[in-house]
């Protein structure tokens, strides 16, 4: 059987996988016309707008705009579009949709599983007359599901951002701009114009001010102990009190001592 005629878009950043899915669909559903192939999420959204396919096959992991974001944009513009996600391995966030308004396929896609999806798509397209909402769920439901999915995958795919704190410090060393992981940094100390960053393997001057750094660094790991000094707590060996309510910070891996001014002395009261 050739099945009813319909239009579809395939989006995957890997060309061989686009070709293979197109070939499988040509076998299983000759009536389906692949009107566009997209290489990333942004292209998928653009091409979907131009070609208005009835079905979009979207790879979940694509550069730039990912599959879920692309789906939100496409369904937002054309609520009747039916979305089928393609993913490299079982993602449990997607399993919830297997029987619902959204479908998903796992790579490598086998013909049997694709045939099930094809017959579901044909049923839904047949049921969706000009005045009916598409498929089982209404367009509004689909949009809501996509929002939820984006939230779920957003937290899973893009690893936690470590609270948005500064993780890398750019420092010019000779010709190069070194990137120093903040967990290697021992202390930062400023003079008039520059700030010195010191780590176990060396030191360099950076343009950021102590004030900026104090705002951007994780306060759990770095404390400002002086108007011009920030120190990494993990690298402090001891704090030695001096006369007149002053103190000095001694470091584990470096010989220099750092001043603690009166207003920050309370930080070490319990140490």
């Amino acid at each position: 059987m050739s099945g009813p005629s319909a239009t579809a878009l395939i989006a995957d950043d890997e060309p061989l996988l686009r070709e293979r899915l197109a070939a499988q669909l040509a076998r299983l559903w000759p009536g389906l016309d692949i009107v566009a192939e997209a290489r990333n999420g942004r292209e998928a959204v653009d091409l979907a707008e131009q070609q208005t396919p009835q079905v979009v096959f979207l790879d979940v992991q694509m550069p730039g705009l990912d599959g879920v974001e692309a789906a939100r944009a496409i369904v937002g513009a054309a609520p009747r579009t039916i979305v089928v996600f393609v993913t490299a391995y079982e993602q449990y966030a997607l399993q919830a949709f297997e029987q619902g308004a959204l479908d998903y396929l796992v790579k490598p896609i086998d013909d049997e599983r694709l045939a099930t999806t094809v017959s579901r798509l044909q049923d839904r397209l047949a049921g969706a007359g000009p005045h009916d909402p598409p498929g089982v769920a209404g367009a509004a439901d689909v949009a809501m599901m996509l929002d939820r999915l984006a939230a779920q995958l957003g937290s899973a795919v893009q690893a936690p951002r470590a609270g948005g704190h500064l993780q890398w410090i750019r420092a010019s060393v000779g010709q190069a701009v070194r990137l120093i992981a903040v967990d290697e940094v021992i202390y930062l100390r400023s003079d008039e114009k520059y700030t010195l960053v010191a780590w176990a393997g060396g030191e360099a001057l950076i343009r950021k001010t102590i004030r900026e750094l104090a705002d951007e660094l994780d306060p759990q790991r770095f404390v400002q102990v002086h108007r011009s000094v920030i120190v990494a707590l993990a690298h402090v060996s001891q704090v030695v009190r001096g006369p007149n309510e002053t103190a000095e910070v001694h470091l584990k891996a470096r010989p220099e001592r750092l001043p603690v001014s009166r207003s920050w002395l309370h930080l070490f009261k319990q140490m």
């Binding site: 890997e14 060309p15 061989l16 290489r39 550069p63 730039g64 896609i109 993780q167 990137l179």
Partner: protein
């Protein structure tokens, strides 16, 4: 520290019997009486020995090592305990004891014998205890060493297992399947690349340490696979001095950097980029291996991945502070990571 156990009691008793037997040749005193005295003496000295061994650390003078303290205590105790035993055997009558020549002679002989035997036995016992302690320490060290080795092996295994990302594996398999189905002649070589890549994740069975050449083979296999998957977005090249290929190199160190470059540099970029791998000896004799990409670069708030922090720890564990992992910005865009190993 030794305890008063049956063996030490038996030894003290046995020695007392022997001493009593020997003394009975020179003394007129009956053997039973002599045995009573030597037994008391042996037990007394045994108690003094253990007392000295347990003497609290804070009451021991700095200049007096414990072995000397114990030996001195036993040596001093020998005449004292002998005297006490003799006083007891004359019923506490000191006059009788001190006025009688035979008594004085017996007391002196016994004291001196107890003194000599006590010192020799104490030193022997101390030596034995030290050997036992050394043995225990060695066993403990051995245990510690095997524990560390096991931990290292487990860490290695965990790292290797973590290397094969399901996304990578299944996407790659899907690509290979596409090539096989379409009858493409590229399918065969690519399966070879996949095998070479996967081999890196298997426990090593052959002898000989891992080399940079092997690492470059894996890296090449990985880049070939990735280029099959994103032919229009990934270009790559490897430039390595043939001279550095036989050098030892921590396995997967370069691979971690190359995977990072592709996954976090090239893949998020819609128009892709280039990955350049180089390996050569520096002017200072160090081995320098670098991976530079022209991808999206590193955001200042991007968390330090486990791959990078593991790699940093491994380099430090293998070569100390002489090994470095240096990250820098690549111009005009992207990231450059360099591993520097000491000469």
């Amino acid at each position: 520290m030794g305890r008063i156990d049956l063996a030490s009691l038996a030894l003290a008793g046995g020695l007392a019997v022997v001493a009593a037997g020997m003394l009975s040749f020179t003394f007129v005193t009956p053997f039973r009486v002599l045995l009573g005295r030597t037994l008391c003496l042996a037990l007394g000295l045994l108690l003094v020995y253990h007392g000295a061994q347990r003497w609290p650390e804070r009451w021991r003078p700095r200049w007096l090592p414990r072995w000397l303290l114990t030996t001195l205590a036993v040596a001093l105790a020998a005449p004292v305990v002998t005297f006490v035993v003799y006083v007891a055997s004359v019923g506490g009558d000191l006059d009788l004891l001190l006025d009688s020549g035979p008594w004085i002679r017996g007391l002196t002989t016994t004291s001196l014998s107890a003194f000599a035997v006590g010192i020799v036995l104490t030193l022997a016992a101390l030596l034995r205890e030290r050997e036992a302690r050394a043995l225990a320490l060695e066993l403990q060290l051995e245990l510690e060493r095997s524990r560390v080795e096991r931990q290292a092996a487990e860490a290695r295994l965990a790292q290797l297992q973590a290397q094969i990302e399901p996304h990578f594996l299944f996407n790659t398999l899907a690509n290979v399947q596409a090539l096989v189905e379409s009858g493409s002649p590229r399918a065969g070589p690519l399966l070879g690349s996949l095998a070479a890549y996967l081999r890196a994740a298997m426990p090593r069975l052959h002898a000989g340490g891992p080399t940079l050449g092997e690492e470059l083979t894996r890296v090449r296999a990985y880049l070939e696979l990735m280029q099959m998957r994103m032919p229009d977005r990934l270009q790559w090249r490897i430039e390595a001095d043939a001279a550095v290929e036989p050098l030892p190199f921590p396995p997967l160190a370069l691979m971690t950097l190359v995977e990072n470059a592709v996954r976090h540099g090239i893949d998020p970029a819609e128009d892709g980029g280039q990955v350049a791998v180089t390996a050569a000896r520096g002017d200072d004799g160090t081995l320098r291996a670098s991976v530079a990409d022209t991808g999206v670069g590193l955001a200042p708030t991007a968390p330090v991945g486990t791959g990078l922090s593991n790699l940093r720890e491994r380099l430090a564990a293998l070569h100390g502070p002489a090994a470095r992992l240096v990250l820098s910005e690549h111009s005009p865009r992207g990231l450059r990571a360099e591993i520097v190993l000491p000469a």
